[in-house]
């Protein structure tokens, strides 16, 4: 038997580190379906979940994988799946069900170059808007963007904690390079890892209302079989969980599931700043592009260009206020991402025309080199 937390220094790929993060976070169910470049997460979970008393099921497709994750979480187990492009598209209906029925779980998308089958073995960050709007209807999401195997480990734990705290499926939007890159990963002692678990109901079981929120707008969650009467539906529902077919009930419920994220965004959003204090040009980036950007900032500084970096660790909810305040201070904002402008449009929106906004991006298939970012910084600087 292996320990639940693999404390120590390891040389792991991002995908492997993600699996270790999940095990350390207490994940006990993995609903799998093979897809490049996320398969290695499933393979490691298949190997180790049984050793910690968990269950791994390779399902018949991604629709089933995501549905099983919702099922396992409803039964009380911390649950997750991992996929990429086409699988992410197939999971979107059940993802939306999870959002609306407030089922905590984690879904990892190791992004490859799309659209469609695209370049299965090569990186991209082209699913960022799909992460935000991929399922139908109005809702809010939480999406994290790790940039190293070490972050794959920690952000998987963070994703589980956020999902349990706010009762929703949380996305980890990784990329092929971060997933397949091997680096040192330091795993702390088990008791140094802070874990959150879903708020449990208290009080009389016969008076329990499964969707009656607390002051934080999050309802406590009873697991099936604990004796609480629960009714879960993807139809618009009231506090009892019963369908409530009216525009008023719809407004009330959607406002709450949106509000519980928007109103708590300051607890959720994490970013990392680098040399921003005296900067005139700020790069906004995330994931593997954040690493290229880091190198570009140092090279730009050597050339006398006052560049800095805001790396988004949380991409959704979007740090709107932070971008707006940067826009007031900077001459230009430069978004670096492996797509043709997704987060770039958000940056532009939030900068409200207060400074120039540029994109350094391409359609996918390889990382963005620091040289390419530097060229853009030089052109903007002139």
């Amino acid at each position: 038997m292996r320990p639940e937390v693999l404390t120590g220094e390891h040389f792991l790929t991002g995908d492997e580190a993600c699996a270790e993060g999940a095990l350390a976070a207490g994940c006990r169910f993995f609903g799998a379906y093979p897809i490049t470049p996320a398969t290695e997460i499933a393979e490691r979970m298949a190997l180790y979940l049984p050793e910690v008393g968990g269950t791994f099921i390779q399902m018949e497709d991604e629709i089933a994988a995501m549905a099983a994750v919702l099922g396992a979480s409803s039964a009380g187990a911390k649950s997750m799946s991992a996929t990429s492009g086409p699988g992410f598209s197939l999971m979107m209906e059940n993802f939306g069900l999870g959002i609306y029925t407030e089922i905590p779980c984690v879904l990892v998308n190791v992004q490859r170059a799309g659209p469609s089958t695209g370049l299965p073995t090569m990186p991209a960050q082209g699913d960022m808007m799909q992460a935000r709007w991929g399922s139908h209807g109005p809702y809010e999401v939480i999406a994290l963007a790790p940039s190293s195997p070490q972050e794959m480990f920690y952000q998987t734990i963070t994703a589980f904690n956020l999902s349990e705290t706010f009762r929703l499926p949380v996305l980890i939007m990784a990329d092929e390079v971060t997933g397949h890159l091997s680096e040192k990963v330091v795993i702390p002692e088990a008791d140094a890892i802070k874990l959150q678990t879903r708020k449990l109901p208290r009080g009389r079981k016969d008076r329990f209302k499964p969707f009656q929120p607390g002051p934080d707008e999050v309802p406590p969650m009873a697991a099936a079989g604990e004796g609480y009467g629960i009714h879960v539906t993807g139809l618009t529902h009231d506090e009892r969980g019963y369908p409530a077919m009216s525009p008023e009930a719809h407004e009330k419920l959607v406002a709450r599931i949106v509000g519980k994220i928007r109103n708590n965004r300051h607890r959720i959003i994490q970013t990392e700043s680098y040399r921003l204090d005296d900067a005139e040009i700020a790069i906004i980036s995330y994931g593997v592009s954040g690493r290229s950007s880091l190198a570009a900032v140092d090279e730009a500084r050597e050339k006398g260009i006052k560049a800095g970096l805001l790396r988004l660790i949380t991409v959704w909810p979007f740090p709107e206020e932070l971008i707006e305040s940067l826009a007031k201070k900077m001459k230009a904002l430069v978004t670096v991402e492996i797509n043709l402008g997704q987060i770039h449009l958000e940056v532009e929106r939030c900068s409200r025309g207060r400074c120039a906004s540029f994109l350094v991006g391409h359609a996918g298939g390889t990382v963005i080199s620091p040289d390419r970012i530097l060229e853009s910084l030089e052109a903007i600087h002139k």
Partner: protein, 298 residues
């Protein structure tokens, strides 16, 4: 109808060279399938090992038109192609081809729908008994006792899904099984299927050295062993009548059949099988063979 190897059409539809793994059985079968179907064929396939083979110019030029569909949709894509050709008055053979993952697991809904609607197409499931394109994960076609990367500690405990029976329950116009180690059998069945209207389902067994753990020189040998041990049985079904073909027919006549041991022992994926599991594998093989013998009138 049967064609001797020497009488096969000389025209090639897949050119020399391939991107598949060394020793892959798929190009062998595909070459003879296309000889039987001819140039008036449109093929649709999902992301699978066939995508590795298909049309990666100039590594494997393929001489027929092809459409790459989404993973769950091969038969639905074919249904659209067949309807489109009908609407535009064109006469093509619509060939849908997916692996065991894209058929037994993910593609079953689309295939069941197309077969129930009696869609006029040929559906081929090439079965290499796991998700080989993503690196050997189990599928519902993986036999009990086999190791894959998602059944690596405890080999798969469940038996292979009897998908051929599921397809037979749809009463297709033509149903056949074949194996890449018998190109003549492959050719004959596709040549026959081509001239039948309605849904035609062909199960094509493909040995996979990468996923099964055998030497690349043994691909043909492993497929033959599978047939000689009756793990794979070559037959066809029309209007509920079972007819054994090729090697399986001669085995039925001679009564000679190899035990499963040699087949299992040649493959790394079965190295954790217990003797009880081998015994069970033999028992299931016997039962399947005897049932087919009975249905074929032996």
């Amino acid at each position: 109808m049967s064609t001797a190897i020497l009488d096969l059409p000389e025209k090639e539809y897949i050119m020399p060279g391939t991107r598949t793994c060394a020793g892959c059985g798929l190009p062998i079968a595909y070459r003879f399938m296309l000889k039987a179907l001819g140039p008036n064929t449109i093929m649709t396939h999902p992301a699978c090992c066939l995508t590795i083979l298909h049309g990666m110019y100039p590594k494997t030029p393929v001489g027929i038109n092809a459409v790459n569909n989404t993973f769950a949709s091969t038969a639905a894509s074919a249904a659209g192609l067949a309807a489109g050709f009908k609407a535009t008055g064109q006469d093509f053979t619509v060939l849908a081809m997916a692996g065991d993952g894209g058929t037994f697991d993910m593609g079953i809904q689309a295939l069941s729908g197309a077969a129930e609607r009696e869609t006029d197409f040929i559906y081929v499931c090439y079965d290499n008994e796991a998700y080989m394109n993503t690196g050997v994960q189990r599928s519902s076609a993986t036999p009990a006792g086999a190791m894959t990367t998602t059944t690596s500690v405890v080999p798969k405990e469940q038996s292979k899904k009897d998908f051929i029976q599921i397809m037979e329950a749809h009463h297709p116009a033509y149903l056949a099984t074949t194996c890449s180690s018998y190109p003549g059998d492959v050719y004959n069945k596709f040549a026959k299927a081509r001239n039948i209207k309605g849904t035609r389902f062909i199960h094509l067994a493909i040995p996979c050295p990468t996923g099964w753990g055998f030497h690349t020189r043994d691909t043909v040998k492993i497929g033959r062993l599978a047939v000689e041990s009756a793990i794979i049985v070559l037959y066809e079904v029309e209007k509920g009548e079972v007819r054994l073909t090729g090697k399986s027919l001669s085995m039925a006549k001679s009564g000679r059949r190899k035990p499963v041991d040699e087949y299992l022992n040649m493959q790394g994926r079965f190295r954790k099988m217990t003797s009880a599991q081998v015994e069970e594998f033999q028992k299931q093989t016997d039962k399947h063979w005897e049932e087919l013998l009975r249905r074929a009138g032996f």
